[in-house]
């Protein structure tokens, strides 16, 4: 499925160091520095101008050394890619670099120890062409991410960059752009799945002259980082998408609204905008036309709700990020009361592909109702965590088992038991093993009480307590509620309190009824989608894991053994070797027993602190 290698052929001889947030955290900048030093020492001609503005010339002798954005496989980072052989070295540290330079770059030997080991086959994989994590994906939007240097405009231009924008500005009318988007069937990747063409058309027909375009880079869903990777790894393609949007509706000013937790994305977007300005791609008389476009990059200030369109607009206007009732929709009256469209980063990154390659090429992937591909952030108890891209309609099973390499134990070892996958973040729901064959598309997921959302996919093994998961998301939404409307502000607080009761063993049958009633009221009555969807994790877990709730409420036990107050630690006499470790750790002296004989816990004394279970090396405390 992969089409990465084709692209990589264009890039000549080069070493690419991943400089996404994940790899940087693991030391990739030091690796980069080491390559610089070692390559120079080894007498390799290093094509590494600081601003990357030298035109790239395949014939030039020597090697490029570049940084890239996230390649999606952060867990294995820092990643080093060597072209044209397309070798991928994993977990490279600075100390490893002399060896790599000497062996691979100079002599051309592949060092097996840095290659990815496919645990299922026991074989070492060469690179993205044979690592299952990559081959089982379909990377189109992400294709360039992780290959090209995000800070280099010439490189983007070399990869046909800004061709689509040129086409939209020079060869198409705004109506034609909207029509092509509509025909492509592209739907918003920011969560709602609203057809992008329809949104643009609505804004296009509004009277001008002043209109705005906004790129929503707030990506607040905990556990999702697709948009970050795009902004960091290929900022120009997001800019190009926003340009096309501006062309489509006739806007001459635009904003990137990026959450403040993404400093690297902000930096790279700012640089990309500056470079594009300097090159005359943005600014006045774009591509020689009479059209102008100014883009600003604005940092958020820490509020999840500002991902909501009307709150985001309020935030740009310098106000508290509180949503306002819709209608009027931003397309009618948005920023400063002017027609405004807001699109998600990934949506915009897809736009140039649709314009450049045409509707048919775009529709080749995905389903009729949901064409194209979608990126997901695959995390949790799964072997391969990371950023992935698959065609819409791919089954969950493919993602979890094939791309993700299956479920893990808590410690990360393969072979865990699948319990649920949470999709759609705090607005989404949990799906069970029976639903693994659900295709990932808007309608199918909505039918089962989840949603595509922005694309967070959290896999959970059987050690996960579903009540606690619901509690976790409720805590998140409660914390992030803007506080404007009653049901969301007070309702999430009370739902959280009810979940607290359940977890702490203070719940009764009434708690469950009240929780359900309240959840329905909140979803009916809230002003914006944050509140409307906040009960989803509760409702979906109540629906699919009701027995788990009931166990907490009626039997005061937590089947996953996660809720401390419901633990009734006992010692399995068969497993206990009588080492006494637990008794020494017990803070209240509740454990007694003779040496080398099974110990017992005095339930009356036990305060359920869990220390004994932690202390026992023989897993005898259950």
């Amino acid at each position: 499925m992969s089409n990465i290698s084709e692209l990589s052929k264009d890039l000549g001889h080069r070493v690419i160091i991943c400089a996404g947030t994940g790899c940087v955290a693991n030391g990739s900048l030091e690796v980069y520095k080491a390559f610089q030093d070692e390559m120079t020492k080894a007498g390799i001609h290093l094509i590494d101008t600081p601003d990357h503005r030298t035109p790239l010339d395949g014939d030039q002798q020597g090697l490029h050394l570049t940084k890239s954005g996230c390649q999606g496989f952060c867990q294995m980072g820092p990643l080093v890619t060597i072209l044209p052989q397309n070798i991928l070295y994993c977990k490279v540290q600075a100390v490893d670099v002399p060896e790599i330079v000497a062996e691979t770059l100079v002599k051309g030997n592949i060092l097996e120890k840095y290659l990815y080991l496919d645990k299922s086959t026991g074989k070492h994989c060469h690179g993205t062409d044979d690592i299952p994590f990559y081959t089982r994906q379909k990377r189109t939007v992400l294709a360039n991410c992780g290959l090209i240097d995000p800070e280099s405009l010439p490189e983007y231009l070399k990869e046909n960059g800004y061709d689509a924008a040129r086409k939209a500005f020079c060869d198409m009318t705004p109506a034609e752009v909207c029509k092509q988007m509509l025909e492509s069937g592209l739907r918003g990747r920011g969560g709602g799945g609203f057809p992008t063409g329809r949104k643009w058309e609505m804004a296009r027909i509004q009277p001008g002259p002043k209109k705005f375009v906004i790129c929503n880079g707030d990506e607040g869903d905990p556990g999702a980082f697709m948009d970050r990777s795009l902004m960091e790894g290929n900022p120009h393609c997001v800019i190009e998408g926003l340009m096309i949007a501006a062309r489509a509706i006739g806007a001459d000013e635009g904003y990137f609204y990026v959450r403040t937790e993404y400093p690297l994305a902000v930096k790279r977007l700012r640089k990309a905008v500056e470079d594009a300005m300097a090159k005359g791609i943005l600014g006045k008389n774009i591509f020689g036309t009479e059209h102008c476009l100014t883009l600003h990059v604005m940092e958020g200030a820490g509020a999840f709700v500002c991902g909501e369109e009307t709150a985001l607009i309020a935030s740009i206007e310098g106000k508290r990020g509180m949503p306002t009732p819709k209608p009027p929709f931003p397309a009618q009256s948005g920023l400063w009361g002017k027609p405004t469209i807001i699109n998600n980063v990934e949506t915009l990154a897809t736009v140039p592909l649709v314009i450049r390659d045409g509707v048919a090429a775009f529709r080749a992937d995905g389903t009729e109702q949901a064409p194209g591909t979608k990126t997901f952030a695959l995390t949790g108890h799964v072997l391969n965590t990371g950023l992935i891209e698959v065609p819409m309609g791919t089954t969950l099973r493919h993602v979890v088992e094939s791309v993700g390499g299956g479920v893990t134990h808590d410690n990360g070892d393969p072979g865990g038991t699948f319990k649920a996958v949470q999709i759609g973040g705090p607005s989404g729901g949990c799906l069970t093993a029976e639903m693994l064959d659900t295709p990932l598309d808007y309608e199918s997921l909505r039918k089962v009480g989840a949603m595509v959302g922005s694309g967070g996919l959290v896999v959970m093994n059987d050690h996960t307590c579903m009540v606690r998961i619901a509690h976790f998301f409720m805590q998140f939404t409660q914390n992030e509620s803007c506080g404007k409307c009653v049901l969301c502000r007070e309702g999430t607080k009370q739902m959280l309190a009810l979940l607290d009761d359940i977890i702490e063993g203070n719940a009764t049958a009434e708690t469950l009824t009240l929780l359900e009633d309240l959840a329905h009221a909140v979803s009916v009555g809230s002003l914006c989608a944050l509140g409307k969807t906040a009960p989803s994790p509760v409702l979906s877990t109540l629906k699919y894991f009701r027995d788990e709730y009931e166990a907490h409420v009626f039997h005061k036990t937590c089947p996953a053994k996660q809720c401390k107050n419901l633990l009734k630690p006992t010692i399995d006499a068969k497993k206990c070797v009588g080492c006494g470790a637990c008794a020494r750790k017990c803070p209240v002296g509740a454990i007694s027993g003779e040496r080398k004989k099974p110990h017992v816990i005095n339930e009356a004394l036990c305060i359920k602190c869990g220390a004994c279970a932690e202390a026992c090396k023989f897993n005898a405390v259950i």
């Binding site: 509020a303 508290r320 509180m322 306002t324 009732p325 209608p327 409660q478 914390n479 992030e480 509620s481 803007c482 506080g483 404007k484 409307c485 009653v486 049901l487 502000r489 007070e490 309702g491 999430t492 607080k493 009370q494 309190a497 009434e510 009240l514 009633d517 309240l518 329905h520 009221a521 009916v524 009555g525 809230s526 002003l527």
Partner: protein, 672 residues
């Protein structure tokens, strides 16, 4: 012929006639949808969610923020929506200091009312709110955040109608609260005590300060001669509390009730309003003829006066120096009544019944006390008097009207219409007409200045003169005209400002009302009273004439100034501490320089001054010898930018002057 468009609400066809939203269409048809956060004169907020209705094809939407469309099928009370509303009220109550039995608001509380209507008999949720202290800092209002339901009505009222923005949301989520800046008390911020926030608050979270017990204390003390005086607007708001039609004039009944409560005499603030007309009109004519500062602003609304002191100190010379009728009454009564009752001045106690919360603040201004003895001892709002009367067990509906006492109970129609926007101007025009033409008016009604628009202009020809009048109410409109005056673009001679929408009939001390209709009917009531009076011009009031003969001499005389006029002070906009700018504070021998960066000085370039001085000191290596501080006001805002160099306050300070002064001081310090 234009065809009417219809929608269906609860099975009934209802015409759409330009309503902004479904809610108003429903209300027009008499279908009540509960709301906390919708008010026709404020922007749509959409937060309380109680107005949710079910619209076919759209599901639950807030009716206050949904435009009516032909063919819509609306249901206002589905099972789902009823359940949601009930839960919403329960949620609010769980986060609320439920102390209804002792709550001032319990007779008009929307939350309590809805809880009853929706059948909330039990709050199933755990109580939980972060208790916040009561704000009792000021004479006019009391804020209790523990009863706030965060509907934001007060925020929008203060921002949109009054144009001030004293209150705003702070915090987020369940930690949200509505507070003045930095959670300070109202006393320490720009609040002008108009009380409109309290008027619109659906709960007891902001209420007028209650002084009923203080009034009882006076009445209970046999040594005192306690008299009452009632403001014009009170008489037409009062009856609402007793089921009478809005706008009914109940002056006689109030008088009787006050007597029954034990007041030794009952007077009319309208008498003082007549005095105000004479003084203010004379002042105006004098300014015109003697080339004084024009345009002249009225000064009878204490909220407006405080506003001008805070935000437009440079326009203070334009304010009429006349006291408000309440303050004039106080001075005259304290002058006349001790003789009449044959008691010392401080034994005469005046209780003023007002539609107004700002008057409570005004009565406490030091200008209106003599040797610690307040001219107006207690100010009760219309509502407080209603409470007192009910509390005393008086059957107000049955009580026989009585006449007020003389001399201070006599009035003309001109004074009565003070209670409605445009009234002061009209009264002044009646006076000016006679004065300038020497003729009696055939038709006393100057319709040009009447109406309910927040900003009205009129040009009135009196003999050979033209008087250009602007009448504004709601201070956002005052802001507009003030800016125009400052820019020299106002084209106006006389400006009347009333802080409350509609003037005092819409004051915050009146019985709680919603919508403009009530205050319009109260206004109509006042005009009716005027029409039914014998006299319509203040100068015709025989007791006013007598007062001039016996006490005051002529209008604007020295004695009149002493009793009937006042002076203003520019006020700190922000009470605050100074901020150290450069130079550490420790070394004593440093030259202290403070530069004002308050609004007014800021606008006049004080920050540049600050910057230039800092740079200058740095360049000359003097920064260690001078401690520069920024302050938020030297209280000389009209003469900014101001700087204080070691005790010397420099006004209209240029950098050159400041530099010269600083250098001079440093030299003399060295010389020592």
């Amino acid at each position: 012929m234009d065809e009417k468009k219809y929608l269906t609400i609860d099975g009934r066809q209802i015409a759409i006639e330009g309503e902004r939203n479904v809610l108003e269409v429903a209300r027009k048809a008499g279908i009540e949808i509960p709301t906390f956060c919708y008010h026709s004169d404020l922007s749509v907020y959409g937060a309380c969610r109680l107005c949710l209705v079910d619209i076919a094809g759209r599901g639950g939407v807030a009716s206050c923020s949904t435009a009516p469309e032909p063919g819509m099928v609306v249901k206002t009370s589905t099972k789902q929506i009823r359940a949601m509303r009930k839960i919403a009220v329960e949620l609010l109550l769980a986060a609320h200091d439920q102390s209804c039995t002792t709550c001032y608001k319990s007779t008009s509380c929307k939350l309590l009312d809805l809880a009853n209507k929706l059948g909330v008999t039990k709050v199933r949720f755990k109580p939980g709110f972060e208790r916040m202290p009561l704000d009792n800092s000021n004479p006019s209002l009391q804020r209790d955040n523990n009863k706030c339901i965060l509907c934001g009505d007060c925020v929008r009222m203060c921002q949109e109608v009054q144009g001030i923005g004293v209150l705003d949301f702070a915090g987020r989520g369940s930690h949200s609260r509505v507070v003045p800046a930095f959670g300070k008390d109202l006393k320490n911020v720009e609040c002008i005590y108009c009380g409109q926030c309290a008027r619109i608050c659906p709960t007891g979270a902001i209420i007028p300060k209650n002084e009923v017990s203080k009034a009882w204390e006076l009445l209970d003390n046999p040594e005192y001669k306690t008299v009452a005086t009632i403001a014009p607007a009170v008489r037409v708001g009062f009856g609402e509390a007793f089921g009478m039609p809005v706008g009914t004039d109940v002056t006689g009944k109030i008088t009787a009730a006050l007597k029954q409560l034990g007041f030794v005499a009952v007077f009319d603030t309208t008498f003082a309003a007549d005095l105000t007309v004479v003084e203010e009109a004379e002042e105006f004519l004098r300014r015109v003829t003697a080339g004084g500062t024009l345009p002249q602003f009225t000064s009878c609304c204490p909220a407006w006066v405080k506003y001008a002191e805070q935000f437009y100190p440079e326009l203070l010379p334009n304010l009429s120096s006349c006291r408000s009728p309440q303050a004039m009454f106080g001075a005259m009564a304290k002058e006349m009544l001790p003789k009449l009752f044959d008691v010392p001045r401080e034994k005469v106690k005046i209780v003023s019944i007002m539609p107004c919360t700002a008057k409570k603040f005004e009565a406490q201004r030091p200008e209106f006390s003599r040797d610690g003895d307040r001219e107006t001892e207690v100010v009760l709002t219309t509502q407080e008097l209603i409470q007192m009367i009910k509390g005393a067990g008086i059957d107000f509906n049955a009580i026989e009207p009585e006449a007020m006492d003389l001399p201070l109970g006599f009035k003309t129609g001109a004074g009565v219409i003070f209670g409605v926007t445009g009234g002061v101007s009209e009264a002044a025009l009646r006076y000016a007409y006679k004065k300038l033409t020497g003729k009696n008016l055939a038709n006393v009604e100057f319709k040009e200045v009447r109406g309910d628009d927040g900003y009205r202009r009129a040009e009135i020809t009196i003999g050979d003169n033209k008087v250009r009048v602007v009448v504004v109410h709601s201070l956002s409109n005052a802001h507009k005209i003030c800016e125009e005056v400052k820019a020299g673009k106002a084209d106006v001679d006389l400006i009347e400002v009333m802080a409350c929408p509609g003037g005092c009939v819409g004051g915050a001390g009146q019985p709680v009302y919603v919508g403009m209709e009530t205050r319009k009917q109260r206004a109509a009531g006042l005009y009716r009273v005027d029409r039914n009076m014998q006299l319509h011009s203040s100068e015709d009031n025989p007791y006013v004439k007598e007062a001039y003969q016996n006490i005051l001499g002529t209008p604007n005389s020295h004695k009149a100034h002493e009793l009937l006029h006042t002076h203003y002070q520019s006020r700190k906009r922000i009470q605050d501490e100074d901020v150290l700018v450069s130079g550490s504070d420790e070394a004593q021998e440093k030259l202290p320089v403070t530069i004002c960066v308050g609004t007014s000085c800021f606008k006049r370039g004080s920050q540049q001054l600050l910057q230039e001085l800092t740079d200058f000191l740095k360049e000359n290596n003097l920064q260690d010898q001078v401690a520069i501080k920024a302050t938020f006001c030297h209280e000389r805002c009209d003469r900014g930018p101001t700087a204080n160099v070691d005790g010397t306050i420099m006004e209209k300070c240029s950098f050159e002057a400041l530099r010269a002064e600083v250098v001079k001081r440093l030299r003399s310090a060295v010389a020592k």
